[in-house]
């Protein structure tokens, strides 16, 4: 359970990130609603003005589009895909990497991992997640799961081999942060919604090209349609443009949410371990590894602690990099964590150790 005692830099950062994420998700939902119901509104406006125009000329009645079929269909598809992602998304992502679950640890490294996950479970106050081991030499980790009681944490063999116990603790704490925040549920939902937009976007443009377009254009140019009005045309243009840029916009929103959530998970890792320096060390180690990832798919990159493909955009800053990168720049993450560490060190002047009273081999 994340504490709300808001008198240190750590907890204030978490709150700020939570607010930013809420705003972004709201924006995303409004955008999808506009894509669906906007079309219905335009259709309704056009058909009602068309009907009154035809009535005033004594022509036979033409139907008015009342039922918002387009919006409802879009929401239905989105709902089905979200349900599928909710129900099966988490485990399918883990299985896709070829991970094996650790039920009983068989090596010293696995024993250490299980112990570290148990420790972080206590510190976070959540239920213990299932632990998976990915057969990959590149160090990395990710978490999935939609319910607090049914979460999964997967780490690569490379992470176990290269990190000290404290660094492993920090990485696991970062993933527990994602689990405790229900970030994993959020990202799964967003991924499903992005899928919807991409799907309908493709279908709509295919329909446009093969005969839908001329039909729409024809209707607007027909002599029956005197009452259509400028409003409808303007709305139509704006709506069509929205559809064209939809995939870009949804992707931008998803990466933006993903990026701020990474900062939040870093802060939560520092909260659980009370040792931000360890996470900074771990991130630097993971970021500078030269092993190529073999098990993690490109589509799961955004779930990992560090972008496994070291995208060139990952290190750049600025608006365009924000569009393309799945993770915040590593440099900035490390800088923020080191700043937190100085903050935590200030507490030690009172005589209480900055870190929890633990005995770790590295510290003695």
């Amino acid at each position: 359970m994340a504490s709300d005692a808001g008198n240190s830099n750590l907890f204030a950062q978490q709150e700020a990130n939570r607010k930013a994420s809420r705003r972004l998700v709201a924006g995303f939902i409004i955008f999808i609603a506009w894509l669906g119901f906007g079309g219905d509104i335009i259709w309704y406006l056009w058909s009602s003005s068309n009907a009154s125009a035809r009535a005033s000329e004594g022509l036979p009645y033409a139907g008015i589009h009342i039922i918002p079929g387009l919006g409802m269909t879009l929401l239905l598809i989105a709902g089905v895909m979200a349900w599928w992602g909710y129900r099966f998304g988490a485990t399918s992502l883990v299985h896709a990497t070829g991970a094996t679950e650790i039920i009983e640890p068989s090596t010293d490294a696995e024993r250490r991992l299980v112990n570290v996950v148990d420790e972080m479970t206590i510190a976070a106050g959540v239920a213990r997640p299932r632990i998976w081991l990915i057969p990959d030499r590149a160090p990395n980790a990710f978490a999935t799961g939609v319910h607090l009681g049914d979460a999964h944490i997967a780490v690569t063999q490379g992470l176990l081999d290269s990190c000290t116990r404290e660094e492993l603790q920090a990485v696991v704490a970062h993933e527990m942060g994602h689990v405790a925040n229900l970030d994993v549920r959020l990202m799964t939902l967003l991924t499903a919604l992005i899928g919807v937009v991409a799907l309908v976007h493709n279908a709509a443009f295919r329909w446009m090209r093969f005969g839908g377009g001329p039909r729409i254009g024809g209707r607007f140019r027909s002599r029956d349609n005197k009452g259509a009005g400028i409003l409808v045309v303007v709305l139509l243009v704006v709506w069509l443009v929205s559809w064209v840029i939809a995939p870009l916009v949804t992707r931008y929103m998803a990466t933006k949410v993903g990026r701020s959530r990474e900062f939040l998970a870093d802060a939560m890792s520092a909260q659980f371990t009370r040792n931000p320096g360890a996470l900074a060390d771990a991130l630097e180690k993971i970021g500078s590894s030269t092993d190529k990832p073999v098990a993690i798919a490109r589509s799961s990159a955004q779930l990992c602690i560090v972008d496994p493909f070291h995208s060139v955009w990952g290190d750049r800053e600025g608006r365009f990099a924000d569009l393309m990168a799945t993770h915040p720049p590593l440099r900035e993450r490390v800088a923020r964590l080191r700043a937190m560490a100085y903050q935590a060190d200030a507490g030690s002047q009172i005589g209480v150790p900055a870190t929890a009273p633990v005995l770790t081999p590295a510290q003695s």
């Binding site: 359970m1 009273p357 770790t360």
Partner: protein, 193 residues
């Protein structure tokens, strides 16, 4: 018109009251859970120690004194826990932590030792156990702070009395001597290779 407004205000206040009461009760239960969690970890340590010491007795024969100190401290801690006295329990647990930290320091001082027998596993298990106790105390302090803050901040504080909420103490070190770094005497062991 005025009557309707009054009713609306009363309804909002009632919802506020219910929400605050529920939040305070939920936080109080979390605090109790976290407190008992510390006991769970302490008991786990008691149960773990005999087996761990037995597995490394052969490899660490030269450090018999340190091993015996751990077993003695563990037995006193169990005895103190059964009396139910909180200060006595706390003192005994502190003694046990001291004995274990001396044992870990010995293992750390002789790197060859880690390769023999089950000493590496011993080190890992003891580290994990001490960490879990530490994190259980940390969780207790975090939830206790949350509970205390909720009782003191504005909307919820009005309903603290009705919910039967009281400020809870944080787990803290009461003896100044505990803040000192434990001194470890390795002079009686064999010289490092």
């Amino acid at each position: 018109m005025f009557g309707l407004l009054l009713i609306a205000i009363v309804v909002v206040l009632v919802f506020f009251a219910i929400g605050s009461y529920n939040r305070l009760v939920s936080l109080k239960n979390q605090v109790q859970n976290a407190w008992k969690q510390i006991d769970v970890q302490l008991k786990r340590r008691h149960d773990l120690i005999p087996n761990l010491i037995n597995t490394v007795r052969g490899a660490m024969n030269f450090e018999k004194g340190t091993l015996e100190a751990v077993v003695t401290a563990r037995n006193s801690a169990i005895a103190a826990a059964s009396t139910g006295s909180v200060p006595a329990t706390a003192a005994a647990e502190t003694q046990l932590t001291g004995a274990l930290s001396r044992l870990l320091a010995v293992v750390e001082a002789y790197p060859d030792l880690k390769a023999t027998g089950n000493v590496a596993q011993l080190q890992e298990e003891l580290t994990a156990t001490e960490n879990k106790i530490g994190f259980a105390r940390q969780l207790y302090n975090d939830t206790a702070t949350q509970y205390n803050t909720a009782q003191q901040t504005f909307p919820t504080m009005l309903f603290a009395g009705i919910a039967g909420a009281a400020q809870v103490p944080l787990w803290e070190i009461t003896e100044e001597t505990e803040r000192a770094v434990p001194q470890v005497d390795l002079s009686l062991g064999p010289p490092a290779k």
